[in-house]
């Protein structure tokens, strides 16, 4: 027999586990004895995570201030249709210490930053500081590539053009006097956006780079004057600009405006009354949008969101319940068999 095997014809198929389809296989058969403990384990794990998430979410403090001003009683109502520079203030109180670091967001609703054409309407190369694209911006910016006199717009595109331009200041009412809460505008954008993706052209002074270009039509001042005080926060690498340029995923969104990390407010906002002063510029009434300011602190899991915690707990409990039901069925079945 050995000899025969040696002299096997090359036409004979190989007798291997692979060619004969005899590979050892694991068949995922779900027997009760595996499923029930597995479900219990998974359920327990999910409940554990869920509780942790829930607690984390519960601990997050959140203060939302809607300043759209569509209500005539609202202090900002006057600014709603004003074309002039308009400022309004809102007061609010914080009952107990708002733990720091506090994040200061502005929020918009019904605002479709994720619209396809809107989102596409920018020129990454221009924003990367490539001067060629200053003179000849990408056509993706249409119809905000050039102005009516065919002068290129920098930064071009709808996205930049519609940049949010309300400004806020927060003051703490201490013994009747307004104490300005220092707002930290550094590091609110992504590190990579600030350092890699967006660049000012290496021309000094910066303004020279923009010769022969126009500012976006909606903008009150050109990009190189966004922050004249800090050269590292000006032009394309202005933090507010960067934050705006990173598009929100959903129509109701908030964006980080500042962080409160300085002075007396390192540990958070103490309880008390506060005044929010808003320089109201950005129009939202044309699309029924709302504007708000959100103060929040964050945990390891991000901002306040009860959904995840609850979902985890629900799913975890479902697993446990199911495993119990299965156990009962299994037990009955087994007893019936035993009988």
């Amino acid at each position: 027999m050995v000899k025969e095997e040696q002299e096997e014809s090359p036409n004979r198929p190989d007798n291997t586990a692979f060619t004969q389809q005899r590979l050892p296989a694991w068949q995922p058969i779900l027997s009760a004895s595996i499923v029930i403990p597995m479900f219990v384990l998974i359920g327990a794990a999910f409940i554990g995570v869920g509780v942790a998430l829930f607690i984390a979410s519960r601990d997050i403090q959140l203060q939302e201030l809607d300043y759209t001003g569509d209500d005539s009683a609202h202090p900002c109502y006057k600014c709603r249709s004003s074309t002039e520079k308009c400022t309004c203030s809102m007061t609010f109180s914080i009952p107990n210490l708002f733990k720091g670091p506090v994040f200061f967001y502005y929020g918009l609703t019904n605002y479709f930053q994720n619209q396809r054409k809107y989102g596409a309407s920018k020129d990454d190369n221009q924003l990367y500081g490539d001067l060629d694209y200053f003179k000849d911006p990408s056509s993706s910016c249409d119809p905000y590539t050039r102005d009516s006199r065919n002068i290129p717009i920098v930064p071009c595109g709808a996205l930049a053009n519609s940049m949010f331009n309300d400004t806020f200041s927060l003051s703490h009412v201490v013994n009747g006097t307004q104490k300005i809460v220092p707002l930290n505008g550094k590091g609110i954008a992504w590190w990579t956006d600030y350092n890699v993706k967006f660049r000012n052209p290496s021309v000094t002074p910066l303004i020279n780079a923009f010769n022969g270009t126009k500012k976006p039509t909606n903008w009150p001042k050109p990009i190189y004057e966004l922050d004249t005080t800090d050269v590292y926060n000006n032009g394309f690498i202005n933090q507010d600009f960067l934050v705006w340029m990173r598009r929100a995923a959903l129509p109701d969104f908030r964006k980080l405006y500042r962080r409160i990390t300085h002075d007396d407010y390192v540990n958070g906002l103490p309880a008390g009354n506060y005044t929010l002063t808003i320089e109201y510029n950005y129009p939202v009434y044309s699309f029924n949008g709302r504007k708000k300011v959100v103060l929040s602190n964050v945990s390891w899991m991000g901002g306040k969101n009860d959904f995840l915690g609850i979902a985890y707990i629900v799913v975890g409990s479902m697993c446990v319940v199911m495993s119990i039901v299965m156990l009962i069925v299994y037990a009955k079945f087994k007893f019936a068999e035993d009988d």
Partner: protein, 1251 residues
């Protein structure tokens, strides 16, 4: 290269047409015009390339193709355009590719573009690339084999060196002289001009062409001027006119015209076909008439077949559903976007607020088609092809389909109907060669109305045999085995042959172990002792009669017996060769052992004594008298004393059988018989067992050993070959002893019995003859009942003048060109009448091993098995019984009728009977009898007519099985077609012979059995197996698996696409239906094409829902019953719903987790995409029935590839992929715990219902 050749030829031709008239003066009075017409008309002219007609040769031959072949589709230069064209042309892909192109162009329209134009080209490019790689691979294989063939060497005459030189096949041109030696392969279609054989014949084996391994004789062009030992190409001045190339292997017409205006007709017997092998002939020379692609072999060469499988047809409707779904989704988006634009017309984020909402909606519709394009599972078509290749690979490599004896495995010729194997509902089987071995064994015979049961033949297996028998058996089985080994070695698809020694060893081994295997002793016959005794008495009768030991054995009977065996030995077209000397070594004129005269003397003496017996006295026209009265040379010499030599021989013959056999063994072992049909071989072997041995054959004579006489040269006058109309064949020989012209005829009993009805002669002789006929008929009926194949043997003695008359007509018929066939038939019929019935034979065709088990299993699997055979009803029923198609309690419904009305009435009657039985069954519920319908060819013909179709169908549907006997090939295919079309079921036809070809082609799945009857069935089949029993595993295991795998794979594929696309769709509700995506476009496109494309393939190739042995043991699990069908509309929609659910979970869990936060658009997409990957992969893990390390590896690789890609891409690509620049999104995301928390939850919830 061929292309350029062609162009060059073409140019030269164009140039020379004009110039020709100027300088070209045709020799031999051939006007140039007519020669041109010949070229362009339906004929071709062939001239010697290096002959005197050089110029004419150039003119005439430039259109003819060279002998180089190119079966590749592409060359290096033409690959890209040709392949693209092919791909768009191929029906399977056409839709897919057009769709891709449509999408790609759509994406180049700026107003609707969704991704960058480059990105949208990726799918089409990738699909084209994969297909192109597949094509390159296949083409390269063809290229290599072409090169191998083109570079084979052959000897071609070179005029410069005045000798034959080695040249590549590809350099051979029309008009070249090619010299071939024995066992060489013919490089092109040659006209045989010279053969070393003195009779001017040469033998070829056409196995490479049609798989027939018997030798065929070819004749040198019948022209004395060419034949002769000193044929030189230089002296060839003739012109050959023949037909244009065609693919009819058996047709070749033309004539050869010598300088002296003498025309000689050419036939297909003058043509040596390319790729056949020269056998038994030392040297042949031929002139090339067709070369390369114009040869008959190449023109018959058609590629693999493309059939559309049932599943694919269903799939197409589902793809249309997907299209519908896509349109609905896009319409939703379009309407939504229109409304949205209307509401937010003047908002700050509105890019072009001027556009009207309706138009915006219209644009978005197209944009959405691009975004959701993945919904149409286009890459599925490529995937299916790949999966099927994988499945084919496994089927091809299954060790259970390997046949050791033939060294052959299953051949998968159709590559895309694997899953149809799992859906067969009706199986149509041929009988002979399919259910049976088609190895005929002589089983019994009846001579002179006396039956010789050959008991030992029947019980041979398992019984302990006498030593002689065993030795005989062993030796014979050895030779027989090496014969069959010979066969396999030359069959088309076996590349290497086992060495004969090994084979012998094997058979020795087997024989020693079990005594004998049925299959190994196919051609062994143990002689019937009674018949041996009688035959011996023939030899020794002289002595016995002298001793006046009167036996009951009449001389008439003896003559019958002798004639019978002589007929068995010579009435055939068997070619004799011997394995040790492959060339035709049995010399025709080998000196007989004894001088002819002596034998004659002996015979005459015997005859003399016979004459003296009273029984025959007074019957002048009795056989013996006729046989010997007109000896050509011999005259009666009553007084010749017995010579010494005769005494010696008598003594030798008188010794025991054992020594006889032994001596026979020594001399006979070398002989191999190669017969056209196995029946013939069986008969020749049978004759040999009785020492009537056919020793050699040449065109004009046969060399036969006769018992007690020795070798005789029988002058062969004519062979009237077998044809299915006459159902018989005859040889006309001049009797070696009497010199009379004798016709021996062998044929189907029905025909011969009719022809042998009347008998001239005295009353007594007529009486005897009538008795013989009756007895023989009785025996024939008995044989048929036993399931034996019956043949009748008859003879006729022609008077010299009678023969002359016939000969004239026959020659006329042979030489006529127009209605040659009719005339030949006519001539044959004039000869084959007034026959004298000698006897009949019963040949058993053993069932193949495991046939009953296989049929039983197939029936259990819900497959209806029909047997369609050309055999007699009794034989068919008998075989059905033997293979358990027919059980003892089944009720047989027989339909034989003579007219259409009778047929209608009968069908109605049977139907009523069956219905009544059914009603009864319903009420009583205990009857287990099933109906088996047996219908004969004539009745079937009427039943297949339009009016009766319906009732025939209804009747046959109610029957468990149907046996159609005496059916023609056309009827076979009609039956299959009827069932397939009217009932709408999957049909499978299995057969082995040329008569099954049409049936095999009509059926959904055609299976050829590569057996003894040539390759036609195999060539037209989708799968070719070597044994019937292989069907069981092929259908029950591979069919089941392939169907399950493919169906599951398709469903999974659709699920995957729907699930993924819906994620994008849900997002549209949050982005104003603007066609925005939250996933990078590259990732989006590659997700389906790369990251999740391999796992479904592996799933489709490797999944096993049930182990093979379970499937073999429980045929009920086979899918044809309908209960286990997977791919039906319900499952499709369930899959779609499941996909919807999962996509909802996969989108909305992250949505709720991130709603209201400052999440960016791509950061939002990241967990969704990652969860989708996990869900899709884990979904497969759950769906898979088996997981091997390959699955694991592929799943792991998919995951790694995905993460690797997105991480690297997001880490380095700063400004690319606008507007979905992924820069650092993923790296940031994956550093946050929230990402994993979301992914875990999403995946778990999505897959929870699966548990």
């Amino acid at each position: 290269m061929e292309r350029f050749h062609w162009v060059r030829h073409r140019c030269r031709q164009l140039l020379s047409v004009d110039s020709e008239r100027g300088w070209y003066s045709p020799p031999d009075g051939f006007p140039s015009k007519s020669s041109l017409q010949r070229v362009s008309g339906k004929r071709r002219t062939v001239l010697a390339r290096h002959g005197p007609h050089q110029q004419e040769y150039e003119a005439v031959s430039r259109k003819y193709k060279g002998n180089g072949i190119r079966t590749t589709k592409y060359s290096l230069l033409t690959f890209i355009p040709m392949n693209l064209f092919q791909q768009f042309h191929r029906s399977l892909h056409r839709f897919a590719n057009v769709y891709f192109i449509f999408l790609a162009t759509l994406n180049f329209i700026p107003i609707v573009e969704a991704f960058q134009p480059e990105v949208s080209l990726i799918p089409i490019l990738l699909v084209l690339l994969v297909t192109a790689v597949k094509d390159i691979f296949e083409d390269h294989r063809r290229f290599k084999s072409d090169r191998l063939i083109n570079n084979l060497l052959c000897q071609v005459y070179c005029s410069k060196q005045k000798s034959y030189v080695d040249r590549c096949w590809s350099d051979v041109r029309v008009g070249d002289f090619v010299r071939l030696s024995c066992n060489e392969i013919i490089p092109a279609d040659l006209l045989l001009l010279y053969s070393s054989d003195p009779r001017g014949v040469c033998y070829i084996e056409t196995a490479n062409l049609d798989g027939e391994t018997n030798l065929k004789q070819r004749q040198v062009v019948s022209d004395s001027s060419l034949q002769g030992s000193d044929f030189t190409p230089e002296s060839f001045h003739s012109r050959i006119e023949c037909e244009n190339p065609n693919n009819d292997l058996n047709r070749f017409k033309g004539y050869i015209e010598h300088s002296g205006e003498a025309r000689v007709g050419l036939h297909s017997s003058n043509l040596l076909l390319r790729s056949c092998t020269i056998r038994n002939t030392e040297t042949v020379v031929g002139i090339v008439v067709y070369a390369g692609h114009e040869t008959k072999a190449m023109m018959n060469n058609s590629g693999p077949r493309y059939k559309r499988s049932q599943l694919e047809k269903r799939l197409n409707t589902d793809v249309l559903w997907c299209v519908a779904l896509l349109i609905v989704m896009c319409l939703t988006a379009a309407v939504g976007h229109g409304l949205w634009v209307k509401n937010y017309r003047h908002s700050v984020f509105q890019v072009d607020g001027e556009i009207s909402p309706a138009l915006a909606g219209f644009y978005v519709f197209w944009t959405m088609i691009i975004v959701l394009q993945v919904l149409i599972p286009i890459s599925l078509y490529v995937s299916i092809e790949i999966v099927k290749l994988g499945q084919i690979y496994f089927i091809h490599n299954d060790l259970d389909f390997y046949n050791e004896q033939l060294d052959s495995r299953i051949q998968c010729r159709a590559l895309n109907i694997t899953e149809d194997l799992g859906q067969i509902q009706y199986l149509f089987s041929d009988k002979t060669g399919t259910l049976t071995e088609n190895k005929m064994v002589f089983r019994r015979c009846s001579i002179y109305g006396v039956e010789y049961p050959h008991v030992e033949n029947g019980v041979i297996s398992g019984m302990s045999l006498p030593p002689v028998g065993e030795r005989l058996l062993l030796g014979k089985s050895m030779s027989c085995r090496s014969l069959s080994c010979n066969r396999s070695s030359v069959s088309l698809h076996t590349l290497t042959a086992e060495s004969p020694e090994e084979e012998d060893q094997l058979s020795n081994h087997a024989a020693a172990r079990t005594g004998a295997f049925c299959s190994r002793m196919a051609k062994d016959v143990v002689p019937d002792p009674e018949l041996v005794r009688k035959l011996n008495s023939l030899c020794s009768s002289t002595l016995r009669l002298r001793d006046s030991s009167t036996e009951s054995l009449s001389t008439l009977e003896l003559t019958y017996i002798t004639d019978f065996f002589l007929a068995l030995a010579i009435c055939n077209s068997v070619v004799v060769s011997s394995p040790s000397q492959p060339r035709h070594v049995v010399p025709e004129a080998q000196a007989p052992l004894k001088s002819l005269e002596e034998i004659k003397l002996m015979f005459q003496r015997l005859n003399f004594y016979s004459f003296s017996t009273p029984q025959i006295k007074g019957s002048p026209r009795s056989f013996t008298s006729k046989l010997f009265t007109r000896g050509k040379t011999g005259s009666f010499n009553f007084n010749t004393p017995p010579s010494n030599s005769i005494d010696g021989s008598d003594l030798a013959l008188d010794t025991s059988q054992e020594t006889y056999v032994q001596s026979d063994e020594d001399s006979d072992d070398e002989l191999l018989y190669e017969a056209e049909s196995p029946d013939e071989a069986a008969l020749v072997h049978a004759a040999r067992a009785y020492h009537c041995t056919l020793r050699g054959r040449s065109a004009k004579s046969l060399l036969v050993d006769l018992p007690g006489i020795g070798s005789l040269v029988v002058q062969l006058l004519h062979i009237l070959p077998f044809d299915s109309n006459r159902k018989r064949m005859s040889v006309v020989v001049r009797h070696p002893l009497t010199g009379q012209v004798v016709v021996y005829t062998k044929g189907a009993d029905s025909v011969i019995m009719d022809l042998a009805e009347k008998r001239r002669g005295s009353e007594q002789a007529q009486e005897i003859y009538k008795h013989i006929r009756q007895q023989t008929q009785k025996h024939l009926d008995m044989y048929a009942r036993e399931g034996l194949r019956t043949l009748c043997i008859a003879k006729k003695i022609l008077e010299e003048d009678e023969y002359e008359v016939w000969l004239k007509r026959q020659l006329l018929a042979e030489s006529s060109i127009e209605n040659q066939e009719e005339l030949m038939l006519d001539s044959a019929e004039r000869l084959e009448n007034d026959l004298t019935l000698l006897g009949c034979t019963g040949i058993v065709d053993r069932l193949q091993e495991d046939v009953p088990e296989t049929i039983e299993a197939l029936q259990e699997a819900g497959i209806k098995v029909w047997v369609l055979t050309g055999d007699k009803q009794e034989t068919a029923v008998n075989i059905a019984n033997a293979c358990k198609l027919l059980l003892s309690n089944d009720r047989l419904l027989t339909a034989n009728c003579g007219s259409k009305d009778a047929c209608a009435a009968l069908l109605e009657e049977l139907l009523i009977e069956v219905r009544r039985e059914e009603d009864g069954e319903e009420s009583s519920l205990h009857s287990t009898s099933n109906f088996i319908l047996v219908i004969d060819g004539r009745t079937l013909e009427w039943a297949l007519q339009d009016e009766l179709k319906a009732s025939f169908l209804e009747l046959s549907c109610k029957c468990k099985a149907v046996i159609c006997c005496r059916s023609t090939p056309l009827q076979k295919s009609q039956v299959v077609q009827l069932i397939r079309d009217k009932i709408g079921v999957m049909t499978l036809a299995v057969g082995d012979g040329a008569n099954d070809v049409s049936m095999i082609q009509v059926a959904d799945v055609g299976i050829g059995i590569s057996g003894q009857e040539g390759m036609q069935a195999v060539m037209s089949s989708d799968f070719a197996i070597s044994r019937f029993k292989h069907l069981k595993k092929l259908l029950l295991v591979h069919g089941h698996w392939c169907y399950h795998r493919l169906a599951n794979m398709i469903l999974y594929f659709i699920y995957k696409n729907v699930m993924y696309v819906n994620l994008l769709f849900w997002y549209q509700f949050f982005c104003g239906f603007s066609g925005s995506v939250m996933i990078n476009s590259w990732v989006l496109i590659l997700f389906n094409l790369v990251f999740t494309s391999v796992p479904p393939l592996i799933y489709g190739i490797l999944d096993r829902d049930m182990p093979a042995d379970t499937l073999m043991k429980l045929p009920e699990l086979y899918g044809a019953g309908g209960t286990t069908k997977i791919y039906i509309p319900a499952t499709f929609w369930i899959t779609i719903l499941d996909a919807f659910y999962q996509s909802v979970v996969c989108f909305f869990v992250p949505y709720f987790a991130l709603a209201g936060s400052d999440v960016g658009i791509l950061s939002f997409g990241s967990p969704i995409n990652t969860s989708a990957l996990f869900i899709i992969l884990l979904h497969q893990v759950i769906e898979s029935n088996t997981l091997t390390w390959i699955h694991m590896l592929v799943l792991l690789l998919s995951t790694i590839l995905y993460f690797g890609f997105v991480l690297i891409y997001s880490a380095f690509c700063v400004v690319c992929s606008h507007p979905t620049n992924l820069f650092r999104v993923e790296t940031v995301q994956m550093s946050q715990p929230l990402f994993y928390i979301i992914c875990a939850l999403t995946t778990f919830i999505a897959l929870l219902p699966r548990y």
